[in-house]
């Protein structure tokens, strides 16, 4: 294989500095976050074949997935654990960036992209929890609506816009479903591609 051609070499540099590749510099945390995101995307699509949002159908389809569908339980567990790992790895990745002072110019703009990804990751985790449709999810939905409506004036419209008709009795609404399965993942994917492009633009992962 030619060293300059080939798909991998096209999207990534021909050579990467030894420091950037050393485990103790990045602890693979950005890479782990991205890999967890890919696992989430793939298992998420598989879950969508069976999941049906709705007051009763949400929870019912989750229990069917967990106990009846062949490998449904494993796929769901993978989706769940990859989600938990991603929250932890993204947070620790941020701590790593602070430790190595990699937020300094010209990397401060990529820090903003990263922060947006952190917020998105948290919101994705939360909306996923709502889709479970359990009573606990209902309680979480009710608390979220309550917290949003605390904001004078804009609170109620915000809650309407982002959570729709969720309530303690039904957290698995079509709106939460579309946010969780389509809108937020696509936004996160796009931001991650931008994050990676910006890393190279900023001179690659290397001590400043």
């Amino acid at each position: 294989m030619s060293q300059k051609r080939g798909f991998l070499n096209h999207i990534r540099p021909h050579g990467v500095s030894e420091k950037a590749m050393s485990f103790g510099y990045t602890f693979c945390l950005g890479g782990v976050s991205f890999l967890a995101f890919i696992v989430l995307g793939l298992t998420g699509i598989l879950l969508m074949f069976h999941y049906l949002p709705g007051a009763k159908s949400g929870y019912a389809s989750v229990t069917t997935l967990a106990s009846v569908i062949p490998f449904g339980g494993l796929i769901r567990n993978l989706h769940f654990w990859a989600g938990q790992v991603m929250v932890v790895s993204v947070s620790l990745h941020m701590v790593r960036v602070v430790r190595t002072k990699s937020y300094r110019p010209p990397k401060e703009w990529n820090w903003l992209v990263g922060m947006s990804l952190l917020v998105l990751t948290l919101v994705l985790d939360f909306t996923g929890y709502l889709l479970r449709g359990s009573q606990e999810s209902g309680a979480a939905a009710a608390v979220a609506v309550h917290i949003l409506t605390l904001l004078p004036g804009i609170g109620r419209p915000l809650a309407q816009m982002f959570l729709g008709e969720v309530s303690a009795a039904n957290s698995s609404t079509l709106m939460v479903y579309v946010w969780h399965c389509v809108a937020l993942p696509f936004l996160a994917l796009w931001l991650q591609m931008f994050h990676f492009w910006k890393i190279r633009k900023d001179g690659g992962v290397r001590p400043l």
């Binding site: 021909h14 567990n77 401060e108 900023d202």
Partner: protein
């Protein structure tokens, strides 16, 4: 160390780095070094990343096979009296035990978030040290609140 080659920067990133300076690079393609008999294979970055990825995926599959995710309490079951937030929002739930909702759910998390977004700018020049201490303080507070959340159930 295996895998180290001294090359000129060929990755097209040198515009911002130090142009033309020699760097220690890990190649994109693995190669053999040393004379026959004592040959070593230097893993490329792509191979190293794939190995790390395989280790991660194996661990994830193991955990998923051993520890099923909870399904929670069904809507048909008797009504719950007490419900905990998902653990990632545990710190906010603990805060709400002690401070009014607007402060615990908006003010404190909001200040923390704005601080984080602005961190690179706040930590310029003389602000570097205080900003860093604030970061450590906030991160520590989140950990303490998480521990309290686990402790209180």
């Amino acid at each position: 160390m295996a895998g180290i080659r001294t090359l000129r920067d060929e990755d097209g990133c040198s515009k911002i780095g130090v142009p033309g300076r020699k760097k220690v690079l890990v190649r994109g393609v693995s190669m053999k070094t040393g004379s026959s008999g004592s040959e070593r294979i230097n893993l490329s970055w792509a191979e190293r990343e794939m190995l790390a990825g395989l280790v991660f995926l194996t661990a994830l599959v193991l955990v998923s096979a051993l520890f099923p995710a909870a399904v929670g309490t069904g809507p048909q079951a008797p009504l719950l009296r007490h419900a905990a937030a998902p653990w990632i929002f545990g710190p906010i739930q603990v805060l709400l035990l002690y401070v009014p909702p607007l402060v615990g759910a908006w003010l404190i998390p909001g200040v923390f978030l704005i601080f984080l977004f602005l961190f690179p700018w706040l930590s310029r020049g003389r602000g570097a040290r205080p900003a860093f201490y604030f970061f450590v303080f906030f991160a520590g507070a989140v950990l303490v609140l998480l521990a309290m959340y686990v402790w209180l159930g």
